[in-house]
Amino acid sequence: MGEFKVHRVRFFNYVPSGIRCVAYNNQSNRLAVSRTDGAVEIYNLSANYFQEKFFPGHESRATEALCWAKGQRLFSAGLNGEIIEYDLQALNVKYAMDAFGGPIWSMAASPSGSQLLVGCEDGSVKLFQITPDKIQFERNFDRQKSRILSLSWRPSGTHIAAGSIDYICVFDVQSGSAIHKMLVDRQYMGVSKRKCIIWGVAFLSDGTVISVDSAGKVQFWDSATGTLVKNHLIANADVQSIAISDQEDSFVVGTAEGTVFHFQLVSVTSSSSEKQWVRTKPFQHHTHDVRAVAHSPTALISGGTDTHLVIRPLMEKVEVKNYDAALRKITFPHRCLVSCAKKKQLLLFQFAHHLELWRLGSTVATGKHGDTLPLSKNADHLLHLKTKGPENIICSCISPCGSWIAYSTASRFFLYRLNYDHDNISLQRVSKMPAFLRSALHILFSEDSSKLFVASNQGSLHIIRLLEGSFKHLHTFQPQSGTVESMCLLAVSPDGNWLAASGTSAGVHVYSVKHLKLHCTVPAYNFPVTALAIAPKTNNLVIAHSDQQVFEYSIPHKQYTEWSRTIQKQGFHHLWLQRDTPITHISFHPKRPMHILLHDAYMFCIIDKSLPLPNDKTLLYNPLPPTNESDVIRRRTAHAFKISKIYKPLLFMDLLDERTLVAVERPLDDIIAQLPPPIKKKKFGT
């Protein structure tokens, strides 16, 4: 297959933000996750847990609560006191509305989905009516003394439970008055703590209220009498989150020690119908606080400060014991945060609030497989570009020639011209961006760096010609009438004639840049696209989907290629289909048209289309060089998928030239080292 020099880059100092809230939507089987930087991600649990939508964060918008309402509308609320609704089609914030109650700590949608309840810093609980295109304030409930940290509706919609500091309050929704105030014991392991914070409440349809608090207790209350029924002391630290299943037969809580406990309603004896809540399973998948949990019909979902999203299927609920029943741990975004200027050997790293530009080092030495070569020149940090304003960066790109950098936040688009003068770099902002270029979901430069392609929300694609220091708007492809879905992935052919764009659900559209019209649409597929690329010369469009299928579509012939048909007929190797991270980047070898390079977080693969495809019996991944140099063995074991798992977790990989690869790794240890220390547990002694 060949030998490569690999630039192994570990200086991309990317740390994902901690998870603050998760909200599961049963209707669409989607999971919304909000992070501490205010970003919201939407995972499609039916499509192999793919992160299909993404809303950038905002410095002042710390999300404290997240919920689905009215079917598939997503709301969040945070410490800036605003309730925000997200537009899931255009991928932007639909509106933000101040609740006028100070920072918002909690939010809950009514069981019918038509009302929204928020708990504020000033102790007020506010009820909002959800109208078709907005929300409208209705009334306040009885004001409490201190902040409302948690809220839960009774499934019948008649009562709510609100967790505050040191007590839980039960309100009657009709009158808005507090009917019970249940005081929580401050005692913690015999010592009186200052305050007991009710981090979470859950109201069951039989009137039971379950609360979790900062003293490590899970308590069951009878809301009719306002009395404590049962008490489980489960942790030495805070219990921070609770989520209950729709059937109300099991719930899950997360603690600050990183443990997740599963409680189930089981019958006391085999014959009687009397049931009681029993703590059944502890899971320790986190090292830090579990800030949020969710309960899907088949899995427990948890996330917290250690930035992992963990999806733990419940084995008794899983019907088929296939690979979907395995534990999933999602750490890295399913988007590309790195772009590369091949000719100048530059890498552009995207962080939440800044960009970093690095120049790769070089070496003159050669070596054999596994060698680390001595560097003649180390990598240089050329540029640190901070954004203006509080918004996070959505996307960024560096042109292949290295002289343009473009990035976008939710409301502004920035284009910079870079001039290299030996070791000096000068940066010049291109001013006066046109009004339509406000926010972009994906930015791409053509191979010759003469054109800029921008996918804006609302589904339009802009083509801009770049001139020395200025630009000219060439054309805008408007979305098909009736659709408002945003395009979030772009690919341009190396000759600059074709532009492919894909949204989150509809098929891939291919536009002719020469004739400025839609050329064709690749038939829609059930699973979202995770990566796109157009091969040089042949203009074959390679599409990777979240179910790990890879298609090759010939743009000139408007049909799938023979190779793609063959592999669909034969099917991919079962181990290939069982990988649990999506392919995030595809590239091609400049000299070998038969090769496709693609990677996910744990492997990269070069597909050699000229070799036979592997079947389920053959060894897909062979890390060792063939010990026997005999041609016969080689002939029989060689197959099209050349896989390497040396570099992981892999955030980006590309071919710089025929013999050089660049791999951007982000070791988990380095991320952990930058997190706050977890709660210390003594190892020795008592």
Binding site: G2, E3, K5, G361, G370, L373, L624, I633, K642, F684
Partner: protein, 719 residues
């Protein structure tokens, strides 16, 4: 019972072969598919249940296949040899054998063997053996000669013994037979001369073999019509030396002595062989199944059109040539019993199964081959029968059993219960068992003399009971001081209340040793360890107690006083077990492993008399010392109590009875040693706490070593 089912013809067209019949029938990597090699130029892949050829390959005109085609189970490819030296490897997609992979070897091949789980093996005519991969890597390698000049390989077989491939081949030279056993893993070749016994002049016509733990049982069918057995050891005592093995008569005159060439036989299972050839009384060829254990003919099938003296047996199918057609006769066998062999057992034909038609009717079977249809059908019938059995009769059986429990004798109940338990378990098995045991206990309470001990034991051992399912059981056992049942309960039940555990402990501590001797207690977990104990004790105590002391009789009661009497001997004494193995078994398995919660156990532990506390403490301390003897801090034996369990129990006992223990003079020494060890533990822990930071730094250093830094350029080669 062995039975032959209706056979069917595999090939509708006669094989293009001479009178010798096909060269071979071999399994392919898919079940139900077989490779048939014609003695001419053709290899055909058949799906037997469909009676349909799936593929056919021929070598060029002028070439001739010399060795039956086999399937390489590891790659799914097929291998054949033509013109003795030319090897061809191909797979299902290939059409033309001329265009497939070819390797010309330097010596003539006798056979290629291939079985599941290992690479194919090539046996050369000169007796040399090579693995296929090694051979293909270097086809022209020199092949050595193993057997002598005029020796000819007569028969060969490749099989697995404990996952190691073994090849056996038989050669003949001037009427003398030799067996070679080649172990492929160790490359050891052992040679054996077969001594024929009295029948010097007889010629061996066919071989077959089977393997058991230590021997290869080589069977041979001689021209006198008798089957002989020769045992060849799998692990030869001296592989270098030529050894001789004698054969013994296994079956007399299974075929007529003057049979023509058409005689063959094969081993079907441990007790059955299939013989092809004319029986002594008849002249027509027959396929017969013989039971070697009882020397009886089980069944036979006449083959009027004659056969070729070749017989293959794979899975459940017997392949043979009948006339000009390759015929398959499915064979089924169940475990043979004397009654079955003698025909005493009534085995009525199942009304649901009927003989299969001779040829498949494609209209009706619609894609199901006869084999699959048959199995499908029988499965369906089985399922139906099972569901019928389980639906009504089960319920009936349990109610019947409950009725029996109310009135019958213990003996009768036991028999009924055994019958009931033999029936396959259903989903609600545990509730049924619960009902049964509640019925039994109810009667126990009503009739004081009634105590169905064996039945109770049986029920406990079903592993489905728990304390909450039958709370009365342990009460009854405690009443009767049935230590054995209590031990079983403590082992099996996950949810015994602490008060009951404590009562059990009291009984275990107070029961006399003589009554313990009588009961049958499972000492498995302490056995090997108490043996070593006894030995140790012997050694040590003979030093201290000069004469007149039998360590076997040693027990705790006189152990503690002696401690006081002879303080000078205490260091040695402390390592001896203070209780008898049986009592130790009770403590270890039953008590120490049981689940408890401290708050509930403590008040009950307070009720223990002082004497028992010291005894139990001594035993626990002894276990602790045993534990700390080795580095892993574990006890020997199966499922031993962990150090934590031991420590917890010591703490609990002391917590509960501290004032008592302080007051007893016998316990003073024990307390002192316990105190010493606690002190040492505390100091260890504090030291560990101190160096924890250093440990972490060390770990960090270690990580840094593996860390390659932030940037490097490496060389990668993709294969």
């Amino acid at each position: 019972m062995a039975a032959l089912e209706e056979g069917f013809t595999l090939t509708a067209v006669p094989l293009g072969s001479g009178p010798e019949g096909p060269l071979g029938v071999e399994q392919s990597d898919k079940t139900d598919q077989f490779l048939v090699t014609d003695s001419g130029r053709t290899v055909i892949l058949y799906k037997v249940s469909d009676q349909k050829p799936l593929g056919s390959w021929s070598v060029k005109q002028g070439q001739i296949i010399t060795c039956p085609a086999v399937c390489n189970f590891q790659t799914g490819e097929y291998i054949v040899v033509h013109d003795n030296k030319v090897l061809r490897v191909w797979n299902n997609e290939d059409v033309n054998l001329d265009k497939v992979f070819k390797a010309t070897l330097s010596a003539e091949v006798y056979r290629i063997h291939s079985i599941q789980g290992t690479e194919p093996l090539v046996l050369f005519k000169e007796g040399a053996v090579r693995g296929l991969e090694a051979l293909l890597a270097e086809p022209q390698q020199k092949i050595e000669t193993v057997i002598s000049d005029e020796e000819v390989i007569k028969w060969t077989k490749f099989f697995m013994v404990f996952r190691h491939p073994v090849l056996i081949f038989i050669t003949e030279k001037h009427g003398n037979y030799f067996a070679y056993v080649q172990k492929c893993s160790s490359r050891v070749l052992s040679k054996y001369a077969l001594l024929l016994g009295q029948e010097e002049e007889s010629v061996i016509q066919s071989f077959s073999m089977s393997v058991d733990r230590k021997f290869i049982s080589l069977m041979s069918l001689s021209s006198d019509g008798c089957v002989y057995e020769t045992l060849i050891p799998i692990h030869p005592s001296d592989p270098e030396k030529n050894q001789r093995v004698v054969r013994s008569l296994l079956l007399k005159s299974v075929v007529s002595g003057n049979a023509r060439s058409g005689v063959a036989f094969t081993v079907l299972d441990r007790d059955h062989i299939a013989v092809l050839g004319p029986p002594p009384s008849a002249s027509k060829d027959c396929l017969s199944i013989w039971n070697t254990k009882f020397q009886t003919l089980q069944t036979s099938r006449e083959l009027p059109q004659g056969t070729s003296g070749q017989l293959w047996y794979y899975g459940e199918n017997l392949f043979m040539l009948h006339g000009k057609f390759l015929t398959v006769i499915p064979y089924k066998s169940e475990v043979s019993s004397l009654a079955g062999a003698l025909g005493k057992l009534k085995h009525s034909q199942d009304p649901g199964t009927h003989a299969m038609p001779h040829f498949v009717n494609w209209e009706t079977s619609q894609g199901y081959g006869p084999g699959s249809q048959n199995s499908e059908q029988s499965k369906r019938i089985l399922r139906r029968r099972k569901s019928e059995v389980s639906a009504q009769p089960e319920v009936l059986a349990s109610t019947q059993l409950l009725a029996t429990i109310q009135k019958d004798s213990e003996k009768h109940i036991e028999v009924e219960l055994r019958k009931f338990l033999a029936i396959k378990r259903t989903a609600d098995f545990h509730t049924v068992i619960g009902d049964v045991i509640i019925g039994l206990l109810g009667r126990c309470k009503a009739e004081p003399s009634f105590y169905p001990r064996n039945s109770l034991m049986q029920l406990i051992q079903t592993h489905v009971l728990s304390y909450s399912l039958c709370p009365g059981l342990m009460e009854v056992a405690l009443e009767k001081t049935d230590v054995q049942i209590l031990q079983l309960c403590l082992q099996q039940f996950p949810d015994i209340p602490e008060s009951v555990t404590c009562t059990c402990l009291k009984i275990f501590l107070s029961i006399g040793d003589d009554s313990l001797q009588e009961t049958d207690i499972n000492v498995e977990s302490v056995s090997n360890y108490s043996d070593t104990l006894q030995d140790e004790k012997m050694e040590e105590q003979t030093e201290i107690f000069q004469n007149g002391f039998n360590p076997e009789d040693d027990n705790c009661e006189d152990c503690a006083p002696e401690l006081n009497e002879k303080p000078q001997a205490t260091t040695e004494e402390s390592t001896s077990c203070p209780v008898t193995p049986k009592r130790a078994a009770l403590f270890r398995n039953a008590i120490l492993h049981s689940a408890y919660s401290e708050t509930f156990l403590l008040p009950h532990l307070k009720d223990l008399p002082a004497q028992h506390i010291t005894l139990f403490l001594q035993y626990l301390y002894f276990l602790y010392l045993k534990c700390s003897e080795n580095a892993t801090m574990t006890l020997p034996g199966i499922n031993p109590p962990t150090l934590n369990q031991i420590m917890d129990w010591i703490c609990l006992l002391l917590d509960a009875n501290f004032t008592v223990v302080v007051m007893i003079p016998e316990a003073k020494r024990l307390l002192l040693s316990l105190y010493k060890f606690v002190k040492s533990q505390i100091s260890i822990c504090s030291e560990l706490n101190k160096i924890e930071v250093s440990f972490r730094e060390l770990q960090k250093l270690n990580q840094e070593k593996t860390n390659r830094g932030l940037y490097s350029i490496e060389v990668l080669e993709l294969f």
